[in-house]
Every structure is written in C-alpha cells, then in structure tokens.
Amino acid sequence: MKTFHKGGVHPNDNKLNADAPAQVLTYNGPFCIMVSQHLGAPSRPIVQKGDQVKRGQPLTENTAFPGSVVHAPVSGTVQNVTEAPDTGNFARPAIFIQPEGDEKEDFISDDPTLEREISLSPQEIIERIKDMGIVGLGGACFPTHVKLSVPKDGKAEYLLINGVECEPYLIDDYRLMLDKPDEILVGIRILMKALSVDKAIVGIEANKPKAIALLRQKAADCDGITVEALRMKYPQGAEKQLVKALTGREVPSGKLPIHTGCVIQNVGTCFAVYEAVQKHKPLTERLVTVTGPCVESPRNFWVKIGTPVSALVEACGGRPENTGKVIAGGPMMGKALPHLDLPVTKGLSALLLLPEEQAHRRTAEHCIRCGKCVEACPMGLEPYLLHAAVRNKRMDLCERHHITDCIECGCCQYTCPSFRPLLDTLRLGKSKVNQIIRNRNTPTR
C-alpha cells in the first residue's frame, strides 16, 4: 500500500460514529456570513442594510487575485453589514441576513437527479467555479479557480483527489464519499476537463474500506480515474505528502504542486464543483462533523454557511458540561475557538469538543535530544534546532535551516516526549522569517 515515506505520526484515528447518516441542520435564526472566507485578497460587500436578497445571490465582489466571493445561503433581508468575530476572535467584515420566504436565484437547479453530461467548455467551467465562490474545502479555503488556472511554468498531468482525511475524529469527507459518490466522480471529470488532464487519482486512507470499495466500483466506468488505498499515516492529507504518496514525486522547496504536474482537490471541493457546474448552485452549504469524546452522538450535518456554531452543538444535544475546548477542524491542525458565537464558514470541516481533562497541555520539560521530532517531521526539518533558534531570536539560522518549509502539521509537538511547544515557536519563527524575506525583496526607496 502506498504512503509517503519521510516522517509522520500515527495518532489514534477516533472516527466516532462514522456510519451515522448525514442530517440536514434546520436553523431559522439570523445568518452571519463572513465577507472573506478564502485565502487571498479580501472581498467587498455589495449589499446594504435593508436589501432583500434571494438564495444564491452574490453578497460580495472581488476583482483582486486570488479572490473569491460569498452568496446568500437563504432568502431574506440584510439586517446589517458590520463586523463579527472570526475564529481567532478578531473582528472581520460580515453580513447579517434575517431569513424570510424562500426565493432563489432563477439559475439554480434544485433537481436532485444526477447530471452526467458536462456541457461547459474548460474556460466556462473555471469562470463558473469562480462565480459560485468555490474554495478548497479541505480547510485551507484557497480559491479553486486559481488552482485550475495553470501558471505558465507548470503543466498539469495529474489531478489528485484528496479523500485521505488523515486528521483523527474527522468523518465529513468519508460521509460525503459514501453519500455522493456519483456526484464526486462527475465533479472529478469536470475538473479533469477544466485542466485538460486524462489521469485522476483518488487517495483514500485504508481505514475507510467502504469508501474505497464504493468509489472503486463507481470509478470503473470513468476513464482515467483510479482509486488508491493509502497506508494510514498523518499528515497524508497535506498536499506535498499526498503528491509523494500518490505519484512518488516531491514538490521542490518553495514551489507548488503544479510544478510537479499535480493539481490537488479535496473530495468536498469535487462535490461543490459538481453542484456549481451541473446545478449552477453557489457554495452556500457544506458537511460538518460534530464530534468528540464527550459528544453524546457524534454525526455529520449539512449546514448552511453563516449558521452559528452554537446551533450545531445544540443539534448534538448541547454543549456537554465538561467541555474544555472546542476546535474548528481536526485535533492536529484545527483552531481552538474562543466561544461558540461564531458563524460556520466554508472552511469548517468539523467541530471537535474535547473534555476539560484533554483541553490542557502538559508542562514542558527539558529537551532530551531524543531526535523524535526530527524523525517525525514529514518535511525533513529539525524542529528542536529551529525551536532553539527562534527562542534565541536567530532568524538567520531559522532561514538557513528552512523554517519556511514547515507545513505546520504538528507532528513534532505531537511526538515530543518533553511536551515542548515546538509548533508554537516554529509558527512564530516562520512568520517572522517570511516577513524578513518579503522586506528584503521589496526595493527600498
């Protein structure tokens, strides 16, 4: 079975209640749509307080690169265009909508029958994906149309589909693969057409045998699409590790996967692409896992973007008494939320509730130079060295030892027997070094 070879860790996968069917979350309160829900240049709101909006109507515009837009998840009235806290509790522009009636944009098709025929041209597909606000749903939220526009110095050979879901607890991609395999495969074919590649590989970790079997069976009818079972290892879902696992190629330092001929899309994104291109639906809802050791019945919900996170927790029986930490995303790379009064965004794959006894770190001890962080680093860095360099403010050393290659997967900190906050310092050092590099490359006047 294939996998990537350098580093990685094996956390317990904790896929709780993975076979529970997905439910649609009903929520009728006000929606809060963050204006910018993608990685890149910020968007501008194009609606005003008091405006009536239809479901699927664009709420923002973005002419910058790379940019993406958001749409109204429901029809209703714009209550306010103001600010709301993001996952880091920073105030960001947001649009509040009070739902009313059920009017939708005329172009949207709610017909659930599978549409196999791809009628749009590659250019039209990319244009449509951009207009429908599709971003990478694996969590990074990078605008999908940008990835499909291959730069001049690259050539796409492979489309790699990320169904790895290597983070413990997360089951939304798995659920989607079981519930919407046909739609995902059409989505893959759409992306293949947009990129004009004839080979697509779906990578799924071996702990999801049902998804592997189902997609293999369905993919038998699709030319050029293969499904690869991957040996379980974190962080296999990271772009560079997935390229290595599926093609054996390595993305050179400082380059993008496209420079090795690969474009990577998440299975969730494939489904969103299907909906956008075949049904002309903007991205206004997604599948979210609500899980954790103290959650009574972990499961997946189809949630409209803009729903408050607290509504999701309520639907799972409320916040358990002993909840100590709520994480947006998985336990390895997710963000701990300051409170639950935050809206669901396009990048939210899961809500993980950890009990109080699992919410805290242990006290850091001395580094015993065991080298386990070096062994675990999938990028071949030396976290112990970078950690010391950052603490001694030696940014030159950090740069020389390639701190900018760090993918922030957290393997070093996960494995450290001394509980040292390796990733905390590496993140800090990485952003400082990136700042230094940017300043150096900006000509001074």
């Binding site: 242990r362 001395h366 580094c367 080298g371």
Partner: protein
Amino acid sequence: MSAEKSAFQKLTVSGSPHIHGPESVSKIMWGVVIALLPALTVSIYYFGRPAVRTIIVSTAACVACEWLIQRFMLKKPVTVQDGSAVITGLLLAFNLPATLPWWMTVLGAMAAIGLAKMAYGGLGNNPFNPALVGRVFLLISFPVAMTTWPRPQPMADLERQAVEISAAAGSTATDALTGPTPLGLIKEGLQQGMTIDESIKHLGLTPWEMLTGQHAGSLGEVSVLAILLGGLFLLWRRIITWHIPAAFLGSAFVFAAILHAADPQAFLPPGFSLLSGGIMLGAFFMATDMVTSPMTPWGKIIFGLGCGVLTILIRNFGAYPEGVSFAILIMNAFVPLINRGFKPKRYGC
C-alpha cells in the same frame, strides 16, 4: 439551568496540535530502567550482596546528588522523578566492580551527576554520558580498586569475601577470590610474550560461559544474553533505534576481523571481541543515550562506527585492556559536529 451554566464556562484556547502522542520523558526513562532489569538480576545472582550494595549506593547517591543540587544550589523545581538520575545510578553501578568500597561509588556518583550532568545545566544539556564520566573518574582516581574484579560465584556470600579481598590486598591470596577480566588477562598475557591463542586457552572459557558472563568483570556487563534481552526491549519500545548498536557492534566486528586476519597472534579474534568486556552494555545502553548521541539516522551510524573502531583500537593498541568507555566519551565530543554534518534529507531536495 445546566446549559446556561456551561455556556459561561470558559473554553481553553491554544495552538494546534491539540492532542499528544503517548510518549513522555518519564515513560522513556522508566522504560530504560525496565530494560536494565535482566542484567541487574544476573549481576545479583553472580555477585550477591556486594552487587546489591553497589547498585543501591550508586542509585541513591545519584538521586540524592541531583536532588541536593536542584533543591539547594540551583533552587529550581526538583525533577528527580523523571528517572534519569536512577538510570545514571544504575548504569554507573553496572560499570563498577561489585566489591568497590561504597564511598568510592558515592564519589563516582557525585562526579557523574554533579560534574557531568548538573554542571552543564541538567538533563538534556550534558555533552558526555554521565555514568561513563563517573566511571572514568573512578578509574583514573582509584586504578587498583577499579580493576580488582570479584569472580562470579552464583548465590555465594561475597560480602565475606569482599572483606577478605581487602584484608588480603596485595598478597597472592587475593587471586583465589578475584580475577582479571578476560580482556585484562589477554592483555597481560601479550605483555608477557604469550600469543592470543595461548592466552585464550589459558582463560579456558567456553562461548556459553562468555555469553552468560561466568567470568570476572564489571557488575552489569558480564552477561551478554541479559544485556541483549534488555536491548531488544529498548528496540521494541522504540526507545532506541537499531542504528547505533548495529553500527557499533558491526564496525567493531569488522575492524577486529581485519586486525585478526592481519596477525592472528597479536590481535583479538572478532567474536571474542564482541562477547568480552563492556561492548554489549556500551552498544545498547551507553552509546544510545539520547542526550549524548546524534539526532539523525546517518549521524547515529557514523557515531556507532566511531565507537566500534575506537573500542577495538584502544583494546589492541592502548594501555587499557578495555576501551568502550573512552571510545563512547570521545565520540560524545563529536556529536555536535556530527549533528551539523549529517542533516536529515529534506522533502523536495
């Protein structure tokens, strides 16, 4: 009501990752202690009460020394419960003759913990293996006591013999109770003009006796089998990797074989080299010390190679019959250089 209460309960916010692997420093350290148990049991079986005494004195002195320094000199939180001082104490005892006077053992423990560990900043900061520094300190300070080895006498009361040894010190009567290590005997034989073959014959040990350690030597080093058992446990628990022991023993074997092939009557045969002295203890427990060994697989291999070659060099050409301690300490000094020279292979390079 309860929902209201929980809504006000504060949430913890911290950077990812939010989960941690099963490993911790104390688990690693106590794992090493468990791995030392087979050799410990064998040493008590062979050397009786003096072995028990030396082990207890050494361990207690190391722990006490660390505690006193942290508590009263550094005035910092005391971390003796992490088990690292216990390991140093056990390993130091393993490297001493069982009948060494207790106050010498205490001095060795003070050198190991005070000089080699705490003076550099405690666990994780010491460049040299503390137990080996303690041993070499004693070897240089008390050369006679440190090379007076009791003969292993299963379950015998060696306490009485130890008294007799010190009473008879210097006279020929000592020979009945103490004896040279196999390596020491051969070195002596060579100096007296005997060939290797004659010396080994004179030694009269079968390979089984060598494996089980039925000959004079340091307390914990004699039984190759017991050490191998502990070493396998360390490998299985992933506390050590195969690189250092394999490179250490492999290079020692190959280098000894080359020397032996060049002049079979002047140099030790390779198999004998691996079964005698402290090379097994060194390869599995001393050289693999995380703090004082390199970080990367290739670095570890180079480190192990250096240890193996130096051990054979010292044994065959040096003044001492045994060279494991010196070889490891010398290679310890090269670790920063090895860490610089042997970087992990980066992704995308």
